[in-house]
């Protein structure tokens, strides 16, 4: 008889059983070890009715006197092996604690979750550096006029460092952008132009 049995089910948002996913149970060691070298407790494919059972023994997670009971969490993998869901960690689960050994999970997608970026412009420095790397690949110094190239670079640096700044726009009296910098974060922003309002 195994010491512990994790039981559970996987359903979609409509309550239909999810199959063809693999459930991996781990014992989290993060409270002891920073590097998260967690112990595997078991790994099963979900049955056709969406349920699963993972039996395991104490020896699979006990590192010594430090760990009396496992800190359990589950990873759900789709058929490609991608992790599509990770449950919360249940701390110090006892063999008799059937409530914490039961995981009923509802998933709205079997695709790998990627946390959205709040700022699509955040990578622009990387884009500009990559652009200059490509420019370096096509630039042919043998047919170039060094003085002209330096003037061009000076113009670009000057324009970028001065005229992308709002303080300079005020000096020039440039009325500039008519929408917020992150428009989707202010869904009620006006689509009326400043000069039309005047």
């Amino acid at each position: 008889m195994p010491d512990y049995v994790i039981k559970g089910s996987l359903k979609d948002a409509k309550g239909q059983p999810i199959t063809n996913v693999k459930v991996q149970a781990n014992d989290s060691d993060q409270q002891w070890f920073e590097d998260r070298n967690d112990d595997f407790l078991g790994n099963v494919w979900v049955k056709s009715d969406g349920t699963f059972e993972i039996p395991f023994d104490s020896k699979q997670f006990q590192e010594g006197w430090l760990e009396g009971n496992p800190d359990i969490y589950l990873l759900i993998r789709n058929s490609s092996g991608e992790i599509v869901h990770q449950t919360e960690i249940r701390i110090g689960v006892k063999p008799s604690d059937t409530r914490n050994l039961t995981f009923d999970i509802v998933l709205d997608s079997l695709e790998k979750r990627i946390e959205p970026s709040a700022d699509p412009y955040a990578q622009n420095n990387a884009r500009v550096l990559a652009a200059f790397a490509r420019l370096g690949d096509v630039f042919d110094i043998r047919v170039s006029d060094t003085e002209r190239v330096l003037k061009l670079l000076t113009s670009a640096v000057n324009a970028w460092s001065l005229y992308t700044r709002e303080e300079m726009w005020k000096v020039i009296k440039y009325d500039g952008p008519q929408v917020p910098r992150y428009p989707w974060k202010e869904p009620k922003h006006s689509h009326k132009l400043g000069w039309d309002r005047q």
């Binding site: 693999k22 490609s80 884009r127 630039f139 689509h191």
Partner: protein
């Protein structure tokens, strides 16, 4: 999977259904369209509407109106090709192109000119068989769909009205000139029902925040994505590496999803009945070059519509940035007024502040003084119908390299145009003129206008030149010897490969080209649908994508994911054993198929690191390669060794047994026998009899810490050839031969071969064959250039350079050559004492292969020259041994034909 936009960037919210690519993809579809601009978007949508399954590939990202925030510093890197650092190779001419879903139609000024009748006739004379009626019908269809309308009076801003006033006043020999309002593609916004026409914000170059500009993004692409009957997917951030083909049939494309820094994230393989290249002038030629399609004529005949500007300074404020930048045009001097050769249009334009700051050709205090008058300028550009004298070639790194020199006619047209426009601004009260010529940046009186014209004519290099209309390079026409594509836009010599965009224009158009590109795409799509039955069936292939059957193409994360869910096939365990032989025996334990370019090698299991490009993985790949060799003991046990190529005298002995391991299920446990290797272990899963995926751990069995994921194979492509494989091919008269001068003629890219991996391009060889002589040039790492003396014998193609090394080549196929850069043979021995010292310091087990040379160590007392024993060969530097000739050292490489 279908009717989504995919990309590698993740966003909080997007107007279209959007998903993030999380792994490599393989798609089998009817049509693969490369490029989502004026041509690609239309062809893709029309084919989808005709019931065909379509994949659209776009190099740029997907950004909707809400993410277009009218700020140059944010939008130019996001929407413009190469973050606007897109120049000719001499940095003389900046070329503006879009690089985002919707292409240049997202960042252009929405100007729509119909193709002039004169140009239709000129093209027909060059062999383009498209009638005026077909052009008209296509123009009508497109114009309706993107809502092309004439600019209304209230849409002319102060800058445009000033140009109109100047045109009205202007006389030549007392006669008035021709000028009128532009037509533009603006209309109702699909995201804001309150907006039914252009908002007139003036930020067309930075994408339309309001979705009123009827770009491809909000028309054809939006329609296809939201058509429930369509089978249509758009993949963004995807750069197409090559088109694949066999015997005149395009079989599909290989693409790479790249992050903002240009690093590879994932790969895609699209197998298609029909492949359409619509990447835009320059990029389309580059893709044909990279795919070795079309020969020497590809890339030639590029025109750009170079466009210098002239600004007028006025006492009162103009506020040219407020309102539509391009709404009015003077046609008197251009093709639209019947000018057959050259000529120019004078078009109203105004630049946002950053672009204006780059355009003004002065520095320091002068520049600031001029910028302070930003609100008091009028501006227009001289868009010249230039001659197609430019050329797109491929840079060392594979990027498109544009060469373009202004012709005498173009220089003269620019001088005339700038002179005329300066006069116009003075006519309507300008106090001074700002020009785009560095030597004459400002003129204050009409009397100085000839000085400006002289400066342009005598010193055209002083002009700040921009272009937004690259055209040509893959000329359309009736003659296969002169043109790349026929009048259907089909590439000559191919059944199902098309190029359709401005790159097929035989001459410059003379007007803003977007509507003509769209009309051409409409005609081409109609012809494709009509000829659909002539296209061949889809031939399925995985290309070089990550798949369980070819894990050598996977990144580390994906190998781990596959390992987590894949079951080890226990039936295959008895087949783990390798050939007992120690040397390759062709047909016995080793073979090479010159048709598929695949190697079968049962000497051992070749180890492959993941394809990740981080520094550590690269280091391991080239300098830490390994193989594993197994011998069967009984049905449950194999004995084996793990052998790092780099330290060729080290064998890590191991025992392989199948076991159940918690978390991984049934696996092969590889237990190392001797210290220090016994502190580690491997878990392996056999995919098929030639493929294994594995994980390496350090620590006690079952509780070890994961080190890395890897794969192993006995069958692999020539792109993974090892030094031993290469020498086997090189030395076999059945597999390779000494090429003749005619056979080798052409351009070749070379990749160095280490013990364990093949590098990216390291050199280019040029073999120019003329009048029975061959001229050999090399470019190594794009830094070391030179020529070599060629000697051809029955057995060898050899060429010498100034070093003690020389090159020897053997041809495998017409497009594949194996080569060695080696010293002369010598019988001297050396360096064995150093190995002995090493062995004393670090007592590690030696392979049996090392014993013979260890014996020799005791006999070797002197170091005589830089000869190395074979076992001391390092990653790229191999040592070859021959019983009669002695030893020699050298590098090995593979050459692939570029042209």
């Amino acid at each position: 999977m279908t009717n989504y936009v995919y990309g590698v960037e993740s966003f909080e919210k997007r107007a279209e259904k959007y998903k993030v690519v999380t792994h490599d993809l393989v798609r089998n579809v009817d049509a693969c369209v490369i490029g989502s601009g004026a041509a690609g978007a239309i062809i893709a949508t029309k084919l989808a509407e005709a019931g065909k399954s379509v994949v659209l590939l776009e190099r740029g990202g997907y950004y909707d109106g809400e993410s277009m925030n009218q700020r140059e510093e944010d939008m130019i890197p996001l929407l413009w090709k190469n973050a606007a650092a897109n120049f000719t190779s001499n940095l003389r001419l900046a070329i503006a192109q879009g690089s985002c879903l919707g292409g240049s139609t997202v960042i252009n000024d929405a100007v729509c000119f119909r193709m002039p009748d004169l140009v239709i006739e000129q093209w027909r004379a060059t062999g383009v068989s498209i009638t005026k009626k077909e052009w008209d019908q296509a123009n009508d269809e497109v114009s309706k769909r993107i809502n092309v309308k004439e600019v209304t009076e209230d849409e002319l801003n102060a800058n445009a009205r000033k140009l109109r006033e100047a045109c009205e006043k202007f006389r030549i020999d007392g006669k008035p000139i021709k000028h009128w309002n532009n037509r533009r593609n603006c209309g109702p916004s699909f995201t804001d029902p309150n907006l039914t026409k252009c908002v007139k914000c003036g930020f067309c170059h930075l994408g339309c925040h309001y979705d009123t500009k009827q770009s491809m993004l909000v028309t054809y692409i939006h329609d296809a994505l939201n058509n429930p009957a369509a089978n249509y997917t758009a993949y963004c951030n995807c750069e197409v590496e090559r088109i694949t083909y066999e015997d005149g049939v395009a079989t599909g494309v290989d693409g790479i999803f790249r992050d903002a820094s240009g690093n590879e994230k994932f790969r895609i393989r699209v197998n298609a009945k029909l492949v359409v290249v619509s990447a835009g002038a320059i990029a389309s030629s580059n893709l044909l070059h990279k795919s070795k399609i079309g020969g020497e004529k590809v890339g030639k005949g590029l025109a750009v519509h170079p466009a210098p500007f002239v600004m007028g300074h006025f006492k009162g404020e103009i506020r040219g940035n407020q309102g539509i930048p391009m709404s009015y045009t003077c046609h008197e001097f251009g093709v639209t007024n019947g000018i057959k050769k050259g000529g120019f249009l004078i078009e109203s334009i105004f630049l946002p502040i950053f672009q204006m700051a780059i355009a003004i050709p002065t520095f320091g205090a002068d520049h600031f003084r001029m910028m302070k008058e930003f609100n008091n300028y009028t501006m227009a550009g001289i868009m010249v119908r230039d001659e197609p004298v430019g050329e797109v070639s491929m840079s060392y790194g594979g990027s498109p390299k544009v060469r373009y020199e202004l012709s005498a006619q173009t220089i003269n047209d620019m001088a005339r145009g700038m002179g005329i426009l300066a006069r116009m601004w003075f006519d309507v009260g300008a106090t001074s003129i700002i020009t785009s010529h560095r030597d004459v940046p400002e003129i204050r009186t009409r009397a100085d206008i000839p000085k400006l014209k002289d400066a342009v004519r005598n010193s055209p290099d002083g002009l700040m030149l921009g272009s937004a209309h690259p055209q040509g390079g893959n000329k359309m026409g009736g003659d296969e010897n002169e043109s790349t594509v026929d009048s259907d836009c089909r590439v000559f010599g191919f059944k199902n490969l098309y190029v359709c965009d401005a790159s097929v224009f035989p001459t410059a158009l003379g007007v803003n080209p977007q509507l003509t590109v769209m009309a051409l795409a409409t005609i081409t799509a109609n012809r494709m649908v009509k000829n659909w039955n002539s296209f061949p069936k889809v031939k399925e292939s995985l290309g070089s994508t990550c798949h369980i059957s070819q894990p050598r193409f996977c990144n580390a994360e994906t190998i781990g994911e596959i390992f987590a869910v894949m079951d080890h096939d226990a039936k295959l365990f008895p087949k783990l054993a390798n050939s007992a032989e120690k040397k390759p025996a062709i047909g016995k334990n080793w073979s090479f198929d010159s048709k598929t370019l695949r190697i079968y090698n049962d000497l051992y299991w070749r180890g492959f690191y993941a394809r990740d490009t981080d520094a550590l993985t690269n280091l391991l790949r080239y300098f830490g390669g390994f193989y594993k060799k197994f011998w069967k003991v009984d049905d449950t046990t194999h004995k084996g060794i793990t052998h790092p190529f780099e330290t060729q005298i080290v064998d890590a002995k191991s025992i392989a047994k199948e076991k159940e391991v918690t978390g991984f299920g049934k696996v092969i446990h590889l237990e190392y026998e001797d210290f220090p290797f016994s502190t580690a272990y491997d878990l392996l899963k056999m995919v098929d009899e030639n493929t294994i995926i594995g994980k390496a751990f350090v620590g006690p069995f079952g509780k070890g810490r994961e080190l890395f994921n890897f794969s192993m194979s006995r069958a692999y492509d020539v792109d993974f050839v090892s030094e031993e494989d290469l020498i086997t091919i090189f030395n076999s008269n059945e597999l390779s031969h000494a090429p003749t001068a005619r056979e080798i003629a052409g351009r070749w890219e070379g990749m160095l071969v280490s013990d364990s991996a093949v590098t990216p391009r390291a050199q280019i060889f040029y073999f120019d064959y003329e009048d029975g002589e061959i001229d050999m040039r090399y470019s190594f790492a794009n830094m070391l250039h030179g020529r070599s003396d060629v000697r051809i014998t029955d057995k060898l193609f050899r060429f010498d350079d100034p070093t003690p090394f020389h090159d020897e080549l053997r041809m495998v196929t017409p497009d594949l050559v194996v080569g060695r850069w080696v010293t002369e043979w010598s019988s001297e021995d050396a360096l064995q004492p150093f190995i002995e010292d090493f062995r004393r310091i670090l007592p590690i087990p030696f392979s049996s292969a090392a014993e013979p040379f260890l014996d020799r160590i005791t006999r070797t007392l002197n170091v005589r020259g830089a000869r190395l024993p074979k076992e001391a060969g390092v990653s790229f530097l191999g040592v070859e041994e021959d019983k009669i000739k002695g030893t020699r050292i050298g590098l090995s490489y593979v050459l692939k034909r570029i042209a």
